[in-house]
């Protein structure tokens, strides 16, 4: 409290912009390396994703050299989907993770996991894709049609919504995934609490996120790559340097693996663990609600 007073006083002296921030009673949060207030962050993030939506997949392939497909495969294999599952994929606008889950379930169906379902409830698989940005959702819907997943079975449901304030009931989901999304939200804690709220007992939370590299030489190379190459690719391909500058900066701002794991524990999850892929470029955190 005292600290905040001090900073407020300092802020008053230093710049009128900061002073107006404190008048709004809004906490400063980070947008990349910049400090912005909370309302502004969600607007800025929204702008970024509106801007990149069209080229989103091309850019992902270029930046990760196609590896993001393997990462998402790994996420889904860790999730271990099953027929009749109610799943919520947050910040999955382009449907990458949702399609993979659905395809895995369809494959299981064919291999005759059906017999167990005949005995128990005839439940329909439902995969809810929730994204705050309608432009990203449109990309996803378009791709679902192209893949022939849109029409006849109504397994995929597209919902525009905020990860910090989900429109689903308590204890309604078997699984919750968030891939490359939690970095962009304003309050990570709120997102985690919401995830815990909507999951059933025994339901799992899985988070795929760009994370921190700790291997000495690899770290230097990775930093070089992210700060020099990625914004350049962004400018060339998507014509938007700033969005990709934000991307690499926001990765550095995201809490490291251990810290994030402790945040997941604080949200009430159990059996929290994480797995680093490619030396920590991305990591998959998982938690269980009991």
């Amino acid at each position: 409290m005292a600290l905040r007073l001090v900073t407020r006083r300092l802020g008053n002296k230093l710049s009128p912009i900061l002073a107006s921030t404190s008048k709004l009673h809004s906490h400063a949060t980070s947008f990349g390396f910049k400090e912005v207030n909370e309302e502004e962050k969600s607007r800025l993030v929204g702008d970024v994703f509106t801007s990149v939506a069209v080229n989103y997949d091309t850019m992902n392939d270029l930046m990760s050299a196609g590896l993001h497909r393997l990462w998402k495969d790994r996420l889904v294999s860790k999730l271990n989907p099953f027929p009749g599952m109610k799943h919520l994929d947050v910040a999955g606008g382009t449907g990458d993770v949702a399609f993979r889950i659905l395809e895995t379930i369809n494959r299981l169906r064919q291999r005759g996991l059906r017999q167990v379902l005949e005995d128990t409830l005839e439940e329909e698989t439902r995969i809810y894709v929730c994204d705050i940005n309608p432009n990203m959702l449109n990309v996803g819907k378009q791709r679902a049609l192209e893949r022939g997943l849109g029409g006849e079975d109504r397994s995929l449901i597209w919902i525009e919504g905020d990860a910090e304030n989900l429109s689903f009931e308590n204890n309604s989901m078997d699984g919750y995934t968030i891939a490359f999304g939690i970095r962009n939200v304003t309050h990570i804690e709120k997102v985690l609490t919401e995830a815990h709220r909507v999951l059933k007992r025994g339901g799992r939370f899985l988070c795929l996120e760009l994370s921190h590299v700790d291997i000495p030489i690899f770290k230097e190379l990775y930093d070089l790559y992210s700060f020099s190459v990625i914004p350049a690719i962004g400018e060339l391909v998507a014509g938007d340097r700033h969005s990709y500058q934000y991307l690499v900066e926001s990765i550095r701002r995201f809490p490291p693996q251990e810290k994030f794991a402790s945040m997941i524990v604080d949200a009430g999850f159990q059996n929290v663990e994480y797995e680093n892929l490619v030396g920590g470029v991305v990591s998959i955190h998982s938690g269980l609600k009991i």
Binding site: R201, L277, G280
Partner: protein, 310 residues
């Protein structure tokens, strides 16, 4: 749980055993990462979780052995960040998780007869205990967890039986051995049609360390109950032979269609008898060799004396 000799051997090799017995104590062996492409498992020291040193392996805590050593992820525990409030919470949470896991697994067992040692059985089990089947995704090695749970459960029942059944103590060692093996194998009789599947799961390279350990513990328990307290090289010989008898009988049982597995038990008795005969034969051979040695030594001695006297 290991006693006398076993305990001694265990103390010597504790350093290596701990790795597979106690969760969180050391980072999982890197050799098992193979399953995940691109993954570089980080080694985090989770040393706060060390059990007291004089403790044996954590049997029958089924989840500790079934969740051992094969996860390629770095398991995170709150206590490594040393915040006091969480020190108390985390072990309780973990216990709760393990309870839930055990509940799911035991509820799944009745479904095995129909569905086999499969995820389908596990899903049916979770539905029964009113949990989301999602939880199966958090079990390391899914079906293997079920088989291992069953093995642990059977061993526990066997130990209870040994402790409670006074009649066993008055039997001759050979009768006692075959009786115990029979009791143990009868436990898996209801699952006999699906047992080959369980054996194939246990034989998968990733599951071998745990299944081997479970078998070793079982054999040790049987040996001990039959009154074996040896701690020399004999210890290994006995357990190897007994392990062989147990496994061959187990396999014989798979194709035995006689009522109540009569042939199997006859086969078992014959093998145990063979083993004891073999032991006798070896002893006799030993005595014979000693006698021959003594005789030879005597005559050689006489011969040398003769040569040098002349």
């Amino acid at each position: 749980m290991y006693r006398t000799a076993a305990k001694r051997v265990f103390l010597v090799t504790r350093r290596f055993h701990n790795n597979s017995n106690v969760r969180f104590q050391f980072p999982p062996p890197q050799a098992f990462i193979g399953s995940s492409r691109l993954s570089t498992s980080q080694s985090q020291p989770f040393c706060n979780e060390q059990p007291p040193l004089n403790q044996g392996p954590n049997f029958p805590d089924s989840s500790s052995s079934s969740s051992s050593s094969t996860s390629s992820s770095s398991t995170w525990s709150a206590s490594s960040t040393a915040e006091d409030a969480r020190h108390h919470e985390t072990p309780r949470h973990r216990a709760q998780y393990q309870d839930e896991q055990a509940r799911v697994l035991s509820a799944s067992l009745p479904h095995v007869i129909k569905l086999g040692w499969t995820e389908a059985a596990l899903i049916a089990g979770t539905r029964e205990v009113d949990l989301s089947p999602s939880i199966i995704g958090s079990f390391p090695r899914k079906e293997a967890a079920l088989v291992e749970f069953f093995m642990d459960d059977c061993l526990q029942r066997l130990i209870d039986r040994i402790d409670s059944d006074e009649g066993l103590k008055n039997m001759s060692p050979s009768d006692c051995l075959s009786k115990l093996i029979r009791i143990r194998l009868e436990m898996q009789a209801p699952f006999i049609s699906k047992w080959p599947q369980a054996l194939s799961i246990q034989a998968q390279p990733i599951n071998v360390p745990t299944s081997f350990k479970q078998r070793a513990m079982l054999i040790d328990e049987i040996c001990h109950a039959a009154g074996d307290n040896a701690s020399d090289i004999d210890w290994y010989v006995k357990r190897t032979v007994l392990g062989g008898i147990y496994s061959t009988t187990e396999i014989y049982m798979l194709t035995d269609s006689t009522p109540e597995f009569r042939d199997t038990w006859a086969f078992l008795d014959a093998r145990v008898k063979d083993a004891f005969d073999l032991k006798k034969t070896i002893q006799e051979a030993q005595y014979l060799a000693e006698a021959i040695g003594a005789g030879m030594g005597g005559s050689l001695d006489g011969f040398v004396r003769k040569v040098f006297n002349r």
